[in-house]
Amino acid sequence: MDRNQIKKWFKFPAQMGHKYSLWVTYFCTGCGIIEIPPTITARWDAERFGVIPVATPRHANLFLITGYVSVKTLKAIIKSYEMMPDPKYVVGFGSCPINGGMYWDSYNTIKHLDRYIPVDGWIAGCMPRPEAIIIGVTHLWTLIDKGMASGYKKYREKYKYYRENQEKVLGKLEWQPLFPLKESEEVK
């Protein structure tokens, strides 16, 4: 943990700032939300690492998708994800967001969350213990250092394809597109 190295703060203040103060949206997505209160209370204190839960997506940096995603939850997740301000990171817990997991043949959960919103990393476990969640946060720091946690940039560039995928599952979406869908030819 290089929070004490003052030279790095002067060289890359934005990167160090995004790393050491990750604010989590307290959105209880699926079954894994049972592991978040032990992580943020006194026993496995996550506030030492700068991670606190905040009440609205407009304040938040990090979105934890804890567990399986049903179709109704996907609508709420997309709305909350689009409300968060720009450098934002998404971490998925367990095997259900990766490829369906235990609900691989269910008609109402989505498999492959990666095709609807960009995901930066996954944490193994059903559900991961608080120690695993904190180690996952430290791995996210190394990704931010190398510049590989760029899900939000991908969402901005390929928004047309993400929105197509979202509309195939959810039907016609009620909200306007976040970024303009048609690019004019002169830009290219």
Partner: protein, 297 residues
């Protein structure tokens, strides 16, 4: 003349540094009371660096204007409160100007919250104004008692009188009662735990701050840090004999703040009608008795 300009620029910066240090200290002390390690003390600085590097979402022109309006009001208010020997504008207006300028900050928040069009914002702002109504009544009685005892409205004169003699809270009975009443309403003015229903993250999703994204949230945090400094510095200047030395002033503010944090760590949150019932009950009664005694004694 040059010194005055340097003082005007430096005083808000010093207040900001003290406010940020107190915000970090508050989180650390609360964590230690909960038997856990907390974040490092400079964590609010890290938060502010992160917030200033985010792309925020705006809702219109009035949305931006309201925040800048409230921040400007708070910065101007700092220039009227003497901080040890530094007091650029304290000779003009004094306590009466402070009474008026204290209401610019909530007004700015209300203006920009109206543009945000979120029901949580309107509930938070209504709670903020009702709470301000609650603590303004004993506050005005206290200020009247102080002005009658010292026969002046200038804060510099009050501080100098205390430096020559005793702390004003121990110098006479009506001032003692006024001091006790001010200490009883201090958590309401700071926004600490029995009275933090304005920003209630669990109930109304952070009240007035709910729609503020990256840079706007940084400005609101700066304003919160400055408001902490203002309420504490006013208490120390009026009743604890504001110091002649920067270090002693800082120690006095620190002690009062740490007592406030200990109260914050223990109490649950009151409802808004219970808060107004308390604020218009005990402290108003004590301040009223103090004011009546100044005319008699």
């Amino acid at each position: 003349m040059m010194i005055k300009i340097i003082e005007i620029i430096a005083l808000p910066l010093i207040a900001f540094i003290i406010g940020i240090f107190f915000m970090g200290l508050a989180r650390k002390i609360m964590a230690r009371i909960h038997w856990r390690y907390g974040p490092p003390i400079f964590q609010p600085i890290i938060d502010m660096i992160k917030l200033l590097n985010q792309k925020s979402v705006s809702h219109g022109f009035i949305f931006d204007f309201g925040i800048i309006f409230s921040l400007a009001g708070t910065i101007v208010l700092i220039l009227f409160i003497p901080f040890a020997k530094i007091s650029p504008l304290s000779n003009s207006g004094g306590l009466l100007v402070i009474l008026y300028l204290m209401l610019i900050a909530p007004l700015g928040l209300a203006i920009s919250g109206g543009e945000a069009a979120n029901p949580n914002t309107s509930i938070g702002i209504s709670r903020k104004f009702i709470l301000a109504l609650g603590y303004e009544v004993p506050f005005i009685l206290i200020i009247l008692a102080v002005m009658k005892s010292f026969h002046s409205i200038s804060l510099i004169h009050i501080v100098n009188t205390q430096q020559a003699g005793n702390w004003s809270i121990f110098s006479s009975v009506p001032l003692f009662l006024a001091g006790v009443a001010y200490f009883l309403i201090l958590p309401a003015m700071l926004g600490l735990r029995p009275f933090d229903m304005v920003t209630a993250p669990q109930e109304i999703s952070s009240g007035p701050k709910v729609e503020y994204g990256g840079k706007y949230l940084a400005l609101i945090s700066i304003e919160h840090a400055l408001t902490l400094y203002i309420s504490l510095a006013l208490f120390v200047d009026l009743f604890l004999g504001g110091a002649s030395n920067l270090i002693i002033f800082f120690i006095k503010i620190l002690v009062v703040f740490i007592i406030g944090i200990f109260i914050n760590a223990v109490f649950p949150r009151l409802r808004i009608e219970q808060a107004v019932k308390y604020l218009w009950g005990f402290p108003t009664l004590i301040a009223l008795v103090g004011l009546i005694l100044t005319t008699i004694i």
